[in-house]
């Protein structure tokens, strides 16, 4: 590999991180640093929690071959509706949460069945789901708003004024727990990377260049420390962040370390080959879409907690945020390519653009135009770089 292709590879691999840094710097400049203020950093997380969760699920669908799920916004709304009604009737909060997840899972399985076993195109199936569950939410709520009054629920799932992890250390102006968590995360990350490098070298396996690993580690540690410091300066760790991080970690593991996760990539890469390798591809589709339903259920929980109510209009265009994040985050529109961390960066990029433009006071309609252009640019990048490679 020549040094030129090395640089090109590097740029290609980390395009979205570079873009994220540039966009953040741009807004930091235009908003006089307001975007980096503790409260805004916290907002980027809390406001976009549902996007992170949905985008992770959407990635699994897109991996199977660029298939999307249009119904997630409506499913979010319907699950939220069901939850609000249950809690309105004083059902135990944890039972309600469990039932909401089950409802999401069942809706996912219902759509997954048609897609995987009857071969109804995902676009059509989920378009139908989008209409069905939007309609059902309206029917259940009779077009009205239903308040969610269970305070414990609201707090645990990241809504209301006090939705932060309590600081056991009782810091005065700064949230010590938050800092401790940040530092611990960095240490764990460094230990794992080092151990990985050592065993790889011992076993004489290929490992990335040392310099690249070190640079990557330094950047990640710096970002994590800065980020937790900012959060600590505000009110600490938002509860929503806990859920988001849990989802990211679980699904990063699933997509990179489990066979079913790798089969998602295989199906998207070459379905015939996957079949010939003896894999039942129908099960893979079923898994992807059922799982999407489950995560839409979780997103529904986060949504009604944050907004402390259920309304028949909730969740509109959520599917577009999720799909957009995936493609901006480097998922291929043809399937088979994309990672959970990449998608999270895509979602962050969207979130930063959103909040940055809001602070700047850009008209909401122009915000849509910009987001649309960013999405288009990301996919053009994917298509063009694919063409060059082939």
């Amino acid at each position: 590999m020549t040094s030129k292709t090395k640089v090109l590879n590097f740029v290609q691999k980390y395009t979205m991180i570079i873009a994220l840094v540039l966009v953040t710097a741009f807004f930091a400049w235009r908003t006089n640093g307001k975007i980096l203020m503790p409260q805004n950093i916290t907002n980027i997380i809390s406001q976009n929690a549902y996007v992170f969760v949905l985008a992770t699920g959407m990635l699994m669908c897109i991996l199977t071959g660029g298939n999307i799920d249009l119904s997630v916004g409506s499913v979010v709304c319907f699950v939220g509706t069901v939850g609000a009604v249950m809690m309105d009737r004083d059902l135990n909060m944890w039972l309600a949460v469990l039932l909401m997840l089950v409802v999401g899972l069942l809706i996912g399985a219902w759509q997954a069945f048609w897609i995987a076993y009857v071969k109804v195109p995902p676009f059509i199936t989920t378009l139908a789901g989008m209409l069905i569950f939007r309609g059902l939410s309206n029917v259940v709520l009779q077009g009205k708003t239903m308040a969610v009054t269970n305070e414990k629920f609201v707090q645990i799932f990241g809504g209301g004024a006090n939705c932060y992890v309590p600081d056991f250390f009782g810091g005065e102006n700064i949230n010590i727990l938050c800092l401790v968590v940040g530092i611990l995360a960095c240490i764990i990350y460094l230990v794992i990377t080092t151990r990985n490098q050592i065993t790889r070298r011992k076993a004489n396996l290929e490992s990335g260049s040392l310099a690249a690993t070190v640079i990557k580690a330094v950047i990640i540690v710096a970002v994590v420390i800065f980020f937790t410091l900012r959060l600590a300066q505000y009110k600490g760790l938002p509860m929503a962040l806990i859920w988001v991080v849990a989802v990211i970690m679980i699904y990063s593991y699933i997509t990179s370390k489990t066979t079913v996760g790798r089969y998602l990539y295989a199906v998207g890469g070459n379905e015939t080959a996957t079949k010939l390798s003896g894999i039942d591809t129908r099960k893979i589709y079923f898994f992807a879409y059922t799982n999407m339903g489950l995560l839409a259920g979780l997103a529904g929980i986060l949504t009604i907690a944050r907004l402390t109510s259920a309304q028949p209009t909730y969740g509109q265009n959520y599917e577009m945020d999720a799909i957009g994040s995936c493609f901006i985050g480097g998922a291929s529109a043809y399937g088979g390519v994309g990672t959970v961390p990449g998608v999270i960066i895509g979602a962050l990029l969207m979130g930063v653009i959103n909040i940055g433009m809001s602070i700047m006071g850009v008209d909401a309609n122009y915000q849509k135009v910009v987001k649309g252009l960013v999405l288009l640019a990301a996919v053009i990048f994917d298509v063009v770089s694919k063409k060059k490679n082939s």
């Binding site: 065993t199 790889r200 076993a203 396996l205 290929e206 990179s256 370390k257 489990t258 066979t259 079913v260 790798r262 089969y263 990539y265 295989a266 998207g268 890469g269 070459n270 015939t272 080959a273 996957t274 010939l276 390798s277 003896g278 894999i279 291929s332 088979g336 390519v337 490679n389």
Partner: protein, 503 residues
């Protein structure tokens, strides 16, 4: 000797609606031997392979494999693999987005989590053992096709295969890559793997194979030891002679040199074909011949602009014209019946009528629709003229037999009243009666002054209809035969490159 046999297929039969694809075919594979399976298009090679790998179920016959006392039944590619029969297809059947290591082991996982380190270690050992120049962590799509092919072979070998089927593995490789592949094949031989090598490259067969089985028209021609079968004989066995009612058809016209040159190309080339010169007279029937893959189809596709034209000067009636895409060719009075009727010819779900008027409508342009009345009249006219057997002009063309589908495409072009008609394998996979009709039609058109270029895998057919044959080998024109030279022997000797050593 008998103990060395690892696979026998006896009396294999397979029919598709209207076609007898395999008729009583035998095939035997021995341990540590490379066995070439040869035959022209439609000979039944791929059908035989698909029966063996469980893609098709056979209508009759039996398959036996070493280690099983009774005949086995193979229902799916998966079952074939369980019996130790692995296939590497022409198109790489791996996932380009995954790493080499992952491609080697996917679908063979034993646990629900992936142990990357062990997997990469095992992959590294496997690749090294077979001398394959790929690293486990490389993304498959980033390595050359040849190495991808070899990775696919490594995967097959690692599943304890006894029978390895290589279906045209070399068709997209260059010479060095082919050599690499052959080294791997020879290595596998010494490990006792029996290899079925499907290809249409003669030299390659002679370079690596031990035995050859030749099929023709779905029937077994014979099994031969490579060193006892000269190339010329192999070609004649592949092409064969079909003596039938067609023998009365004959193009008596010899190129006179007086007729006007209709079409002339100098150094024409496309992305798929090398530079070549070509011309055809008014009312002449000529043909491109050569084995499959020799570039005969690619040449006519360049003439029609079906592939991207990359250079050359074209004259029609002596006037310089630009033909870079099909519509240019059509406007200059050229029609083209493509080689693959199902893929490039018919639009299966449209009616016979709509298929017939398609080219004419395109020529007229969107602004001048053909009225329903006219369309019906055109369709009826050609259904009658070409004797197309269809329930009505409204019938979807996909439900017609192969021969009648072909006539519909012919009608499509005849309706545009072309001056020059290119027919690529118009008689493939259709019954003898329709073949004769099409050949007579070609000669009739020529008498009416239409120039025709005709391509067929059956040499007899071309000798009957063409007054000039252009012979191709390895994408180059290697000879041109006319008059007394139009004999089967001359064509074959020209194909194998011994055009000059006739006494």
């Amino acid at each position: 000797m008998k103990d060395d046999i690892i696979l026998t297929m006896r009396g294999i039969c397979k029919s598709f609606p209207g076609v007898r694809a395999l008729n009583n075919v035998d095939f035997t594979l021995r341990r540590g031997k490379i066995h070439a399976l040869m035959g022209e298009n439609g000979a039944g090679k791929s059908t035989l392979i698909k029966v063996l790998t469980g893609v098709y179920s056979m209508d009759g016959g039996e398959i036996r494999i070493e280690g099983h006392d009774s005949p086995i039944i193979i229902r799916s590619p998966q079952e074939a693999q369980n019996y130790g029969i692995s296939t590497v297809y022409q198109e790489i059947s791996l996932c380009p987005n995954l790493t080499v290591a992952e491609n080697l082991y996917i679908g063979r996982d034993t646990s629900s989590t992936v142990d990357w380190k062990t997997r990469e270690k095992k992959a590294g050992e496997l690749l090294e053992g077979l001398g394959i120049p790929a690293r486990p962590r490389q993304q498959l799509g980033s390595i050359s096709l040849a190495v991808q092919q070899m990775v696919a072979i490594a995967r097959a070998v690692d599943t304890d295969c006894k029978v390895l089927i290589l279906d045209e593995p070399t068709s997209s490789l260059d010479d060095n890559e082919v050599e690499m592949l052959f080294r791997l094949m020879r290595d596998l031989k010494t490990r006792g793997v029996g290899i079925v090598f499907v290809t249409h490259f003669l030299e390659q067969v002679y370079e690596v194979s031990d035995q050859i089985t030749v099929l023709r028209n779905g029937e077994l021609v014979g099994e031969y030891e490579v060193d006892k079968l000269p190339q010329v004989e192999l070609v004649s066995k592949m092409i064969g002679k079909t003596l039938d009612e067609l023998s009365t058809i004959k193009n008596k016209k010899a190129p006179s040199g007086e007729a006007e040159v209709l079409y002339e190309a100098e150094e024409l080339s496309s992305t798929e074909s090398k530079k070549f010169d070509f011309h055809i007279d008014k009312g002449e029937v000529n043909g491109f011949t050569g084995l499959l893959g020799s570039g005969r189809s690619e040449s006519v596709r360049a003439i029609f602009g079906a592939d991207q034209v990359t250079g050359g000067i074209i004259r029609i009636h002596g006037k310089k014209v630009q033909i870079t895409k099909p519509i240019d060719a059509m406007k200059n009075g050229i029609g083209y019946l493509p080689e693959d009727r199902k893929r490039d010819g018919i639009i299966a779900d449209l009616s016979v009528r709509d298929n017939i008027i398609l080219a004419l409508q395109v020529l007229r342009g969107m602004g001048h629709p053909i009225s329903r009345q006219n369309a019906d009249a055109f369709a009826d006219e050609y259904i009658k003229a070409l004797n197309i057997k269809t329930a009505s002009r409204e019938t979807p063309v996909g439900s017609l037999s192969g021969g009648n589908q072909q006539k519909v495409i012919l009608a499509r072009w005849l309706l545009t009243h072309p001056e020059y008609l290119i027919l690529d394998e118009p008689t493939r996979g259709i019954d003898v009666g329709t073949k004769a009709e099409i050949q007579r039609l070609v000669l009739k058109l020529a008498e009416e002054g239409v120039s025709v270029t005709f391509i067929s895998s059956e040499i007899e057919e071309m000798l009957r209809t063409c007054s000039r044959l252009i012979v191709m080998r390895d994408r180059n024109i290697v000879g041109e035969l006319t008059g007394a030279d139009l004999t089967q022997e001359r064509v074959m000797s020209t194909i194998v490159g011994r055009g000059d050593d006739h006494e």
